[in-house]
């Protein structure tokens, strides 16, 4: 099992479109992927859209991502990559 800490950096937080992208990415891997708020108030299956939305992860929220399975390394780096890139929202949105 691999664990990694991520922070929601994009302006809109883990909103609907970002969550959909996350779930779509997560579903391309075999490993079980979970996201947990570091304050312990909620955790989610990263392959389930409603579960991810229930994290209510707005900008600045810290999450613990965990992956377990045959492709856990690739899976966790893909998911962490999405957080790092701000879910492709781009600079235009960040400046706004």
């Amino acid at each position: 099992m691999i664990e990694r800490r991520v922070t929601v950096t994009n302006r809109l937080g883990l909103h609907a479109r970002a969550a959909a992208l996350l779930v779509r990415t997560a579903n391309t891997y075999k490993s079980a992927l979970r996201l947990e708020r570091t304050d312990g108030t909620a955790s989610a299956d990263a392959k389930s859209i409603l579960s991810v939305l229930m994290l209510a992860a707005s900008r600045g929220t810290e999450l613990l991502a965990t992956a377990e399975g045959v492709d856990e390394t690739e899976a966790i780096s893909a998911v962490c990559g999405l957080f790092a890139e701000g879910f492709g929202e781009g600079e235009r949105v960040d400046k706004a």
């Binding site: 809109l12 937080g13 883990l14 909103h15 609907a16 479109r17 959909a20 779930v23 779509r24 859209i49 939305l53 209510a56 992860a57 707005s58 900008r59 600045g60 929220t61």
Partner: protein, 331 residues
């Protein structure tokens, strides 16, 4: 199949297909009927052209001569009358329709005969003839394309079910028919564009009311399920595309991204439904139609849900900021 760029029909084809209420008959120039082509559904009135302003005569449109035009010709002397008629350029006009059963002037009959211009007559008034002719030509000249799929009437909405061969379109249709929905066309759907943005789908004559299911063969749905299980044609309001689960990579998990497919330059909303064992297709299709019905009435559940979620994100964000301030204060 590529849609025809410029659909056209000959005058005799038009006479053959025109509604019976027009009681069309050819009074002169019958020879030209098989060669002259109608290309535009809108008719023209020859009024100004008879007065000498012939610039806007369109060769592909049916020309109407009503009471006022015939009266105008009637008050000219014979020579002027023939000149006004010749001025029209009878060789390039598709056909002329005299309304209200008026006897056309002798000069017009002679000139039409000489130029092989089909001169038609109807007992119907101009105002009615114009609307009946336009409607009929609009259908006859509509761009047409054949789509592979099943067209059904579900809760009053025309739904085109598309997808690769063997994915289960016909089986899905049978299930929907068993639930009381109507079959319009199976396998081949002839789609016509009526006006600028309306698509009308129907089955080719031979396939009408029939459905083919692997293992059951070709069945007559009207015989099996009754007259209420079939419909002759239906406007297409929604396209549902069935795709194998592994191919359906771009599935909209939230239902917020409105997709559309272009048919004859008209955008039709499209829903992509992945198919896999254990998914009840007809229930999914039925529900997709219910969702679409709500959307056309301005209610989008997915969008409302997202708005609520965004509100939730805002409140948690402000809580984070508050706690951040508190931490600073404590320092």
């Amino acid at each position: 199949m590529k849609p025809n760029d410029q659909p056209s029909i000959t005058v005799s084809e038009f006479i053959h297909h025109a509604p019976a209420q027009l009681e069309l008959r050819i009074t002169a120039g019958a020879q030209g009927a098989t060669t002259r082509q109608l290309t535009v559904p809108r008719v023209q009135k020859l009024g100004l052209a008879l007065a000498g302003f012939t610039n806007y005569i369109h060769s592909g449109r049916l020309q109407i001569l009503g009471q006022s035009e015939i009266r105008y010709l009637g008050q000219l002397d014979a020579e002027k009358r023939r000149e006004a008629i010749r001025n029209l350029g009878l060789e390039r006009i598709a056909c002329v329709l005299v309304t209200k059963g008026i006897e056309p002037p002798l000069e017009l009959i002679e000139e039409a005969e000489a130029a092989n211009l089909p001169l038609l007559s109807t007992p119907v008034l101009s105002s009615i003839a114009i609307s009946v002719v336009t409607d009929s030509l609009q259908e006859l000249l509509a761009p047409i394309v054949a789509r592979h799929g099943v067209l059904m009437d579900i809760y009053g909405l025309g739904v085109l079910i598309e997808g690769a061969s063997g994915i289960g379109k016909s089986e899905c249709a049978l299930d929907l028919i068993a639930r009381g929905h109507r079959l319009v066309a199976d396998d081949v759907v002839e789609v016509r564009r009526i006006g600028a943005d309306r698509l009308l789908g129907a089955a080719p004559e031979l396939l009408r009311e029939h459905l083919e299911i692997r293992g059951l063969g070709i069945m007559n749905i009207r015989d099996l399920f009754g007259v209420s299980a079939v419909s002759a044609n239906k406007a297409i309001d929604l396209s549902i595309k069935l795709e194998r689960w592994d191919e359906a990579s771009e599935v909209d998990r939230l239902g917020i991204d409105a997709q559309a497919v272009e048919i004859l330059d008209v955008n039709v909303p499209q829903v992509l439904i992945p198919v896999s064992p254990g998914r009840n297709l007809s229930t999914l299709v039925e529900t997709a139609v219910r969702v679409q019905l709500l959307r056309t009435r301005g209610y989008n559940a997915a969008q409302e849900f997202i708005a609520r979620h965004e509100k939730m994100l805002e409140t948690t964000e402000s809580r984070i900021q508050e706690s951040g301030f508190r931490i600073k204060e404590n320092l």
